[in-house]
């Protein structure tokens, strides 16, 4: 009896928080769904009416949509590639004992604490600026023509900035995984005649596979919605070369004032994110089960 009562009490006590969280999730979702079926343009107030799937039709047949979809995938894939490979290398370095280890580790983690808008501005104005930037200065030092990053390599520049922000996260997770590798296993491999590279391939990499999976899963969730870096640096340009799905939705809603179209885009983005998540989990979820 007592346990039943405690359980009921627990449910009642917990319910305000659960209900609040549920509303927090469901109200925006339902409203977005609702708006996505309306003609709802802020420039034409009073003309809202139900138009069925027209918003979806417009959004999905917009040539910019497929470019944006491709850009999103390139941005996610590129950043993952850099952060995972870079993260493994950095973790391997940080795992070695050296003087000032604590401070170096702190420095490596620091970029994660910088706001995306701030870091994007720093990269844009202090590092990648074709006239005043550090990279341009270095290029001139060696007598090269400075690169105008956001004009010549806009997507790569964005990937670089985002990767810089996420590298600490990957490094941190991979470093902790690396530190949990049994020292005797390494010694056993050493006695078995495995050199440093073999040890990395046969021992370290399999040991890290689970952590790598976690890094890929978590980063993908966040990287699908990269927005601030694009807004601050390229504004989706030149043309629509760096417009990803979130930025496209932003353009619909706040530059064209088409709330209905943006809502439809939002729902499409939710569906796409779920498709990506589905394949991701199917693809690498096996790693987590082991």
């Amino acid at each position: 009896m007592a346990t039943l009562q405690t359980r009921a009490t627990a449910r009642i006590m917990m319910s305000p928080a659960v209900i609040l969280l549920f509303l927090w999730m469901i109200v925006p979702l339902v409203m977005t769904l609702y708006f996505s079926f309306l003609r709802y343009n802020l420039l034409m107030p009073g003309t809202e009416e139900f138009i069925g799937f027209l918003n979806y039709q417009y959004f999905l047949t917009d040539p910019a949509f497929f470019t944006a979809l491709g850009n999103t995938l390139v941005l996610v894939g590129g950043t993952l590639l850099i952060t995972v490979i870079g993260g493994i290398l950095l973790a391997l370095v940080l795992d070695q004992p050296f003087f000032g280890q604590g401070i170096v580790r702190l420095l490596v983690i620091a970029p994660f604490f910088v706001m995306p808008t701030v870091s994007a501005l720093v990269w844009k104005n202090m590092l990648m600026h074709p006239v005043n930037g550090l990279f341009a200065w270095i290029a001139r030092l060696f007598g090269f023509q400075p690169i105008d990053w956001f004009a010549q390599l806009p997507m790569f520049s964005i990937i670089l900035i985002v990767a810089w922000q996420w590298l600490p996260f990957a490094t941190l997770i991979l470093l902790t995984a690396l530190q949990s590798l049994d020292g005797e296993q390494k010694e056993a491999a050493e006695m078995d005649g495995a050199g440093a590279i073999s040890r990395f391939i046969y021992l370290v990499l399999p040991h890290l596979s689970r952590a790598i999976t976690v890094v890929i899963l978590i980063q993908t969730i966040f990287l699908l919605s990269v927005f601030a870096e694009i807004l601050v640096t390229t504004n989706g340009g030149p043309g629509i070369q760096t417009t990803n799905i979130p930025y496209l939705i932003y353009m619909q809603a706040l530059l064209q004032f088409d709330v209905g179209g943006a809502s439809a885009g939002g729902i499409v983005a939710v569906v796409l994110a779920n498709i990506v998540a589905f394949f991701l989990i199917r693809l690498i979820g096996k790693n987590l089960e082991r």
Binding site: E187, A188, A189, M191, G193, A194, H207, R290
Partner: protein
Amino acid sequence: MGSITLEKVSKSFGTTSVIPEIDLEINDGEFVVFVGPSGCGKSTLLRMIAGLEDLSGGRIIIDGKDMSSEAPAKRGLSMVFQSYALYPHMTVYGNIAFPLKMDGQEKSAIDKKVKDAAHILNLTNYLDRRPGQLSGGQRQRVAIGRAIVRQPKAFLFDEPLSNLDAALRGNMRLEISDLHHQLKTTMIYVTHDQVEAMTMADKIVVLNAGRIEQVGSPMELYRSPKNVFVAGFIGSPRMNLIEGAEAAKHNVTTLGVRPEHIRISTTEGAWKGKVGVTEHLGSDTFIHTQVDGIGQVTVRTDGDFDTKHGQPIFLTPDPARLHRFGADGQVI
């Protein structure tokens, strides 16, 4: 082919000296056990022979060649670790095949050697499993399998049985001894358990604080320990080490007598005491007695001897089997 010679080998971490200086000769095919209390440097010594720990001084000669600064893999030794150190993501087959694969041997040759090793160790049915799916004893055998496929000059065991339960430990002790008779390869075995040392070794090396206290066959160490430390360490239950007035009567600082070399009687004897705790093992009985003027004395007697707590008792040590130690702890 597996003689190992240590010449003036020493090890220090920073300013702390762990092993002052050791000379030791290990003959081909011998089963040598390093035994000592924890922290005596026995594992460090083994790791130095393996090449996992650098020498601070001296030389290690394996089969006549100076291997002091060779890489571990080049020394031709294999090691079984306390935690087994199996590769968790590889199958049993993969684990055993790993050293051969690293050696760059052919697939068919590897396959044959792995199957042979698995046959010797009764692992044939488990080759597809991962270490996580095996019991402690099976993991232990996989670790040994990984060591034997390389056909090393010598095996090094670092407390391999300490993670097993008592029954399994007994079994594995027999299996390892059996393996030694089959392979006739040199084995160096580190343990803190003197029972393992006594039962398995051809030669025991007793270590204390990085120094070799005594080297000899198990019975040599049992019969004539060179000093108080070895006397107290080898043999179970421990030798009674008696100091004070009783020792002075024999003109020694410490008088040692093993529990099995004391005659016990309820009526007459040299020492009078009281029965304390009695441990019945069935075949034997250990009686811990409190002897007047001497202190605690442990006696081993046959299983049927019946006593009560607090009962007066008489003990007579066998005069031919007394061990006499001087002020420096060495035997006189």
